[in-house]
Symmetry: C2
Subunit: 143 residues, 2 copies
DNA sequence: CTCGTTGATTATCATTTGATAACTAAATGG
DNA sequence: CCATTTAGTTATCAAATGATAATCAACGAG
């Protein structure tokens, strides 16, 4: 397997993933939430509870800007901050009840579109897809 | 294979792809070019020659904004516009020599990082990765 | 105890991006 | 032909994002 060819395929593949992700999520993002705010909410939803620093690191947003956006999200009652007993500098962030409901609904819709996308796949194909995801995740898209 | 589980894996996977893509490309983008401009250049590099409308469609940027950004790129001598004989409304966009050189170097660097990422994979593993890319591209990330 | 580091906040500013309206020119379809 | 559609441009405005400096409190190592 020529590695240069593999790189070519990787480039095409990454573009396709971005495009499909966009396709699955477009027009779903709830009103009054900017793209960056949505991506933060998504991250919180999957990884909660998280600290501000974690959000900053993982989403590549500076601390001041993370703090600003999180403040807005808190003001919109979509997430909540909790003090950490062991380290009083830190704050843990979780989705509020309203935020959880909102993200649940969002994932519900995205999931629906995803299912529609794979609706023609047979059981064996689904198994193949599953293994392919594992392979790539561990060998290429790790860390 | 439970489809809901597959969706969960898809979400994690898409996030990993985004993250690794970011990792591979960060700090490489040449000076004086905004992220959106870079993504346009990338698209032109892979698909040239393209029309303004194609860029607008594929990158989800409105025509006025596409026109504006393309004008800036043209002023920076990174791409060139050509009239189309058959339809004088249209314009084909290509990278200029300088733009081509710049993008070649960029891809060179990204490719280096990619190779480093898969450097421990055996020949069989590379073949497995290759097939996994094909499977996902055709069954999940199509279109 | 003190110094350096970490986690977070506020304020401010420049830049980038997105959105809209108004317009030209060329094609296309009755 | 004339109306409509397509391709692209320009101008303008608002909003989102990124970057920086200054600050504060709490922790941790020596």
């Amino acid at each position: 397997m020529d590695k240069a060819v593999l790189f070519q395929k990787f480039v095409t593949f990454a573009a396709a993933v971005h495009e499909v992700t966009h396709e699955l999520t477009k027009d779903i993002k709830p009103d009054d939430i900017t793209p960056v705010q949505y991506s933060i909410l998504e991250y919180i939803a999957v990884s909660q509870p998280v600290t501000l620093s974690q959000i900053s690191d993982c989403k590549h947003i500076s601390m001041p800007n993370t703090s600003r956006e999180l403040k807005k999200l808190t003001e919109k009652n979509l997430c909540e901050k909790f003090d950490v007993a062991e380290d009083r500098r830190k704050q843990l962030i979780r989705l509020s009840a309203a935020g959880q409901t909102m993200m649940d609904e969002t994932f519900q819709q995205i999931g629906g579109r995803f299912l529609n996308r794979i609706k023609d796949a047979s059981a064996e194909e689904l198994e193949t897809i599953n293994r392919a995801l594992d392979v790539l995740q561990s060998k290429v898209f790790y860390e």
